[in-house]
């Protein structure tokens, strides 16, 4: 019988505005069947999260997406897509406790929707990285413009991603963990 005494759960939050691709990213990365968490959404809304404007996404649920990545024999990483609305921030408090950090997804057509998430993680000194999801027609921005628009501090990583691609999501996770590690390193005196 294999010893299970060394098992470490880890978690990373996936935040950002409604319809920015959080669900898509979690599903692209998860090894488990995504558990139905948006049951109240209309049929027509499901599956067009990436490519359409979101006027028809009026209903949502408190329930959230989560996904799982078995990193190695003893590390299991959970990804939690956090509800964007501020009235659900009580859930963020529990989820962010003990987390590695957060991916904040941004849709450049609606940058302001990610401000609450950025403020939240900044105020709590939780490591986060910005993932600019590449929607059609929204790709012609440079990093400096994005940094300006989001008022990011210089050390906050920014990366262009395609939330549908697992490799792209993994690359963003790597960036976050590197960033989190850099903040745990003792400051040379």
């Amino acid at each position: 019988m294999r010893d299970r005494s060394e098992l470490y759960p880890l978690k990373i939050l996936v935040a950002g505005g409604f319809g920015v691709g959080k669900t898509t990213l979690v599903r692209a990365l998860s090894e488990i069947e995504p558990l139905l968490t948006e049951q109240q959404m209309t049929e027509t809304s499901v599956g067009v999260d990436d490519t359409r404007a979101v006027p028809d996404k009026r209903t949502t649920t408190v329930a959230m997406d989560f996904g799982r990545i078995t990193v190695d024999d003893s590390l299991i990483l959970y990804l939690f897509g956090t509800p964007g609305q501020s009235r659900f921030w009580f859930m963020w408090d529990e989820l962010s406790r003990g987390s590695v950090g957060a991916l904040v997804l941004v849709d450049l057509r609606r940058v302001d929707e990610c401000f609450p998430a950025i403020d939240y993680f900044e105020n709590r000194r939780i490591p986060y990285v910005i993932g600019v999801n590449t929607f059609p027609g929204a790709n012609d921005h440079d990093e400096e413009a994005v940094r300006d628009a989001l008022a990011l501090s210089p050390e906050t990583p920014v990366q262009w991603i395609d939330a549908r691609e697992a490799s792209s999501g993994i690359a963003l996770l790597v960036r976050l963990v590197e960033h989190a590690l850099s903040r745990t390193a003792p400051v040379p005196t």
Partner: protein
């Protein structure tokens, strides 16, 4: 996490439920498992493998916990709010039927550098 407002208790019972899950938990919302983080991992023990005469929910958890499974996953599979899953897991832990593996955090409440290094290594191995 499902039903963060814990209002999802109507109409979500999976087919085949023998008794309402609130009967199983006796309406308790606090137990040994009450403070478990949603990502805490659960594994069945040898005693749990041989446990008998348990409610369906407990048996389901013991079956799923043959491989490491988190509280939030158990809640989703059982279609109960995560708070209920915590209570059920707490009961099984009290009985010695499951082992619970909590996140390892440092004094400041975050994962330590050793764990982060391993996470980084594991993620990089996937990105090739």
């Amino acid at each position: 996490m499902r039903g963060g407002a814990e209002d999802g208790r109507h109409g979500r019972q999976p087919a085949g439920r023998v008794v309402p899950v609130y009967a199983v938990t006796g309406g308790r919302t606090r137990s040994a498992g009450a403070d478990l983080p949603v990502e805490a991992l659960v594994t069945v023990t040898d005693a749990g493998r041989w446990a008998e005469n348990l409610h369906l929910e407990y048996r389901t958890i013991l079956q799923l916990a043959a491989a490491p499974v988190s509280i939030v996953e158990l809640g989703a599979v059982l279609q109960v709010p995560v708070g209920v899953a915590r209570v059920l897991v707490g009961d099984l832990a009290d009985a010695g039927y499951v082992a619970v593996h909590r996140p390892q955090v440092t004094a400041d409440g975050t994962p330590g550098p050793e764990i982060l290094e391993r996470l980084l290594e594991g993620l990089r191995a996937r990105s090739v």
